[in-house]
Every structure is written in C-alpha cells, then in structure tokens.
Symmetry: C2
Subunit: 390 residues, 2 copies
C-alpha cells in the first residue's frame, strides 16, 4: 500500500484502466501531448491530497485491496496507530527483537467458498502468511491461528481445514504454535474465518521495500497470473462456466530464497505477492512508494489461455485478478535475465518473465503498453469485482 492516495470516492481521481485519450475532458483542438499532461496533473493533484474516507459505512470495496482499502487503511488505521514500523505498509513489519532481526505479519481469511480447486481456506491462510514473511525476505518460522466459527459449522469441515493447515505448515517448514477459537451465533459469520499471524527470521542482509525501485530496474512476475482469483470465481458457480483452473496457492519462501541467493546484494529491490487487486495493484504500490513510473508490456504478461478466456467472458482484466502463489520482483535492470533464470530454476517459477521496466516519469503512475500499440494508465481498482477472494 502507498503513503499517499486519494479518497476512494474522489471524483477528481482517474477511473481505473481508462485510456489517456478518453479520460481528460479536452478543449477542442488541444494537442494530444497537452491533454495527456492535463490527466497527469489531475492525478498528481489527487495523490497529494490527504486520504479521506467519505463513505459513512463500510462497503465491499473497502475489502478489495484497491483504492478504497488503501484509503481506509491510511485514514483510519495508519492515522490511529501511526508508528515508523507500520507506516511503510509493507507485507509485514521488520522488527529488532532481542538482537534478532525478525519479520511479523498477519492476514484475515474470509474466502468463499471455503473449499475450491487447488486448495481451501486452511492452506490459503498458512501460505498467505508464509508469503508475507517471504516478501520481507524472512524465513517463516512460527504461525498463530485464530478461528471464528459459525454455530452449526460442520466439525468434519473444520477437521479438513485443520488437516490442510497442518499439511501446508509442514510443506512450508513452519509450526502453528498458538491459537484461539471463538464461536458466533448462526448468521453472524459464514462458516469459518481464519486469521493467521506469523513471525520469521531475517537471515540475509536484505532490505526490501516497495519504496526502493529506481529508474532502470526491471519488473518480473514469478509465473502466470490470475489463477487463484479465476479458480474462486468458477468455484462459486455463479457464471455457469467450467474451465480447468486451480488456485496457485503455494508457499513462496523457497523460490524467494533462490532469487535472493542468486543475485548480488541489493540486486533485489522489492518483493510483493500479488494477492487482492492482483499485479496491477502491486505495480501501483511500487510506483507511488518509489515515486517512479512502471511501464508494463501487455504482451509480456504470462497468463494461461484458460484464465484469459474466463476473464474475457466475465469482463475482468487478469492484471487485477488475485494470485496466491505468484509475486512481483523489482530487480536491478542489469540482473533481470539472471533473476528470471533463477526463478525458472525453481518448480514454482517455470513461467517467470520480465513484464516491465521502471523509469522516472511520470512519477507514481503505471502505464501499460497494449498489444495494439497503445498506452493506458493502470490505476487501482475503485470497486471490488471479486469480493472474498482470500
């Protein structure tokens, strides 16, 4: 998430994914270059504003990972809890703890349905917290698990979730060491919610941050995108579509270690797993936090044809669809190819690819060069096309 963003209902903010030419209200005869500049100026003005939550009530968009989430987090939580460890809003906090360099993170999981092709809320919750630690460069060590259960939830389903968490923890080499269970009345939850927190050890002298990208860096994704989100959409059965798509949920600390160990110190600037809001949201976080422009190439994006097909049918851009086992790495541009090779050498990175580059101008923006030769702004999502994806 970013340090400055506009209010989520700010009418002055540019809509998500709208091309330059359609966005600015151009005076007749204004040259194209000036019209582009007007759009950029509007965005810059909006981004300088203090985040304000204008809604009186929470909406599903506040859980989307997009604009509304960022505004809520900044205007309510960061405002209240303000401290130097929380302020960067990375995937986890880096803490000195009795001489040890540690990372600490948490995630709440409310995915619906609880069981889906490729996983369930249990391994999702374990992998999600393992991955947030991995994105800090930490070796995940210990997890906690807090359960909120709805009265009437089948005990057999809870056993299945616990077994899945245990298997995911074993696969990731972490232990679930503490927990809590609460039960609420029927109609006050949706079966089972799981909140995991995790602590890990920073064993490498890395400093990773979305604020460390600089012009000339390369932007890489570790594999094909959008599979978790597409699997969840299909599992809901609302669309009557069937396709062989399974969630990509997986623990990423192993492939991250392969990358960090292969590149020279400082070669990796930032790591973010592309969950809610997808790769588009991560690229925006990097662009704003670092004050740079990220230029992504549509044709370079690895997306499986089944995912492209489902997204086309549903009118959703795969760039915004959640992954739960893919991450974005910003690396020193001169090591881009080496980084891709390091990732491809790991079973979870076979589809790794350079998808873009970092340049200095216009700062804070993500541009996508489309397959048709155009350029459009890739903004944060305003609403939430896929609530409860994780």
């Amino acid at each position: 998430m970013t340090a400055e963003t506009e209010g989520s209902l700010d009418e002055d903010a540019p809509p998500a994914g709208v091309a330059f030419e359609e966005d600015a209200p151009p005076a007749p005869g204004t040259p194209l270059r000036d019209r582009e500049q007007q759009v950029l100026d509007r965005i810059a003005r909006a981004r300088r504003r203090r985040p304000v939550v204008r809604e009186e009530r929470i909406t599903l968009a506040h859980g989307s990972g997009g604009k509304a989430t960022q505004t809520l987090v900044q205007a309510v939580f960061l405002e209240a809890f303000r401290n130097p460890r929380l302020a960067p809003l990375e995937d986890g906090a880096t803490l000195a703890l009795g001489g040890a360099r540690t990372a600490f993170t948490t995630d709440a999981f409310v995915v619906s349905p609880l069981f889906f092709p490729g996983g369930d809320i249990g391994d999702l919750a374990v992998n999600g917290t393992v991955n947030d630690l991995a994105m800090c460069g930490a070796r995940p060590a210990y997890l906690s698990a807090g359960f909120i259960l709805e009265e009437g939830f089948p005990v057999a389903d809870l056993r299945r979730i616990a077994a899945s968490m245990a298997a995911a923890a074993a696969a990731a080499g972490v232990e679930i060491v503490t927990g809590d269970t609460k039960v609420v009345q029927r109609g006050k939850a949706d079966g089972c919610y799981v909140t995991t927190a995790g602590v890990g050890l920073l064993e490498r002298p890395v400093e990773l941050s979305a604020a460390r990208a600089r012009p000339g860096d390369a932007v890489i994704v570790s594999g094909p995108i959008g599979e978790h989100g597409a699997a969840i959409m299909l599992a809901r059965g609302d669309f009557g579509i069937e396709a062989p798509i399974v969630s990509d949920t997986a623990p990423l600390h192993g492939i991250v270690a392969a990358l960090l160990d292969d590149l020279p110190p400082g070669g990796v600037r930032a790591l973010r797993d592309a969950t809610r809001g997808g790769v588009a949201t991560i690229l925006n976080e990097v662009a704003v936090a670092s004050g740079v422009c990220v230029v992504a190439e549509e044709e370079a994006l690895p997306v499986r044809p089944e995912v492209t097909g489902v997204c086309e049918l549903l009118g959703i851009d795969p760039l915004y669809v959640a992954c739960e086992g893919r991450f974005v790495a910003v690396v020193d541009g001169q090591h881009a190819q080496r980084a891709v090779e390091a990732l491809r050498g790991h079973p979870l990175g076979a589809g790794a690819a350079v998808i873009g580059t970092v340049r200095d101008d216009p700062p804070g923006l993500v541009l996508l060069r489309t397959a048709f030769g155009g350029t459009r702004i890739v903004d944060l999502l305003v609403g939430d096309p896929l609530p409860r994806i994780c």
Copy 2:
C-alpha cells in the same frame, strides 16, 4: 487448557458445580466416604479418555472456554498441528527466535456489544493479547491486528475502535505494527471482529506453566472477579437490570512484572488471566496440568457486591464469569503473603487475595469449601451461559 479431558457430551462426566452428595447415584446405605470415592473414580475414568468431539456441528459451547472448547482444541487442532510448542496449550508459545527468548500469542475477539461500560472490542483486543504475553512472563512488544468487517458497518464506529486500540497500545507500551482488513457481505459477520496477535520478549529467567503447581503452593487472584462478564451481560440489556459495573479490561504486564521481581526465582509457578470460563476454568487447568488438587475457599474470593448481586439474579456463579484484567497466580506457599503484598502495591492489584491452596489429592480436581462449611467439585462448564463475552 489441559492435556487430557473428556468428550464434551460424555454422559459419564460429572456436571459442573454439582455437590458431591448429589452427583453419585449412591446405593442405599453407602457410607459418605465411599460415595465420594465413586464420584472421584468416575471423574478419573472420564479424564483418562482420549478427547473426542461427538457433535457433528459446532455449537456455542465450543466457544465457551469450557469442556467443549478444550475437547475441540485437543481433538481437532492439537491433533492436526501437534508440536512441542503448541502442546502445553499455555496462553502463548515460548519460542527461541534467532537467539532471543520470545513469546507469541493470538486471540480472536467477537464480543457483543462492541462498546460496553469500561471498554470496547478495541482495547479488549489489545489488552487481551498483551495479557497473554504477560502470562508467559514476557514484556509485550509488538501487536498485529486483523479486522473482519461487515458491509454496512459505520466507519465512525471503526474509527472509535481504532482510537481505542491506539490508546490501549500506548498505555501498554506496545506498537501495532502490521494488520489486515477484510470485508464480508451484510449478514456474514456482526459489525466488526478483531484478531490480534502479539510478540514479546522474555527478559526474566522465568519458567511459568500451569503444569508447575505443586502441593503446598498458594493460589492468588489479583483482584475482584467477574466484572468484565457482568458488565457485558448488563450491556446487552436482555435482563432489564442496571448496576454500576464496568469491565475490568486492563493490561497486566506491569503488575506481573511487580510480582515476578518481588518473589525469589521460581517462586511464581503459573500465571493465567481469567478470561472465558473465569477463575473456575483456570483452577481446573492448573489442577489437571499439574496433577494436583486445588482447594479454593469461597469466603476468600474477592467479588464486588454488585457482581454478586447480578450473578445471583441471573443464576450464574461468579467463579465462571470472565475477567479481562485479573489473573490467577500459583506461587510457592511460603511466599504467599509477600506475593499478595507485591500485587496490592500495584494500582491493578488492590483487591488481591489468597483464594486457595494446592494439595496432592485427589489429583486433577478443584474443590470449593463453601461458606456453609460444605465442599463441592468445581468442574469446567459444559455449556456456555455467556456467549461472545470477548
């Protein structure tokens, strides 16, 4: 929680809080001593059994903190996650982390109503996790916060909760350094649930465990009991009772430090904050984990008259009513008076009192000497008289 307990629907298990004389089905003419022995034998048999969840669906009792919760935790979670750090089921796990001795804990909060006399879900969530760390003998350092919000929840209420969390964190000297926010559809939550996790540092060479009580030890509570639970009951307004009772929610690490620093090393055996299930549940956990008998004196229990009055009206025993700012300490009997004085020297311990003693027989049981000179078994709760107390 304890290492062995019976199934929650076990018909052979003794009902909670029932006197010896009424519990055993005595053959006519059986001497009193033999009838007592029959009850004890039945309890011993039940406790040797492997915990089994016999219900097919989750009930509110599984969230009570009593028998059903313990059975669920042992039969489902401990069974799936089994590892030496989780197995003792203390309030938090003690972990070596890169050379540092740390404690790690989590709690989910689903209290209803969200705002009540003396506090709200926000300070309750911060203090609850601070206290679980304090009960491990740790200095609380960093907290995470995961929010599950219901669509339609007032943003103003969320601000109030965040402000309350920030104030509680500042008062306890901890920082909230990482978090997550999810939103679920209307009717899939109850406004706001908060799951906090916390890490702390073990700076003293203490080893505290419910399994360390031994005959001759004294059992102390740090202040008057049952105020949080009574305040919540009244705040729900279901009973049409008004009484000047406010929640006792408070951070306990300061008073714990005062106790640990005052007694000689090893003088404090176990600390547990008396939340769900109240003091009665803690005494049972100590009795079972240590294989000892805890004998409590009804007349020694500090209970404010307003709390006694409300509990009498509602037919609830204050021994089972949750506190959120009181703890049970088991200390070396020869230092009992010194411990009480150390507690009374702290603003949160003015009402501290020795409430009982530890003896060897019958192991695993809690006995209460009543004000009328009788003795009754104080067992774990079977149902949940007060769902969503925290």
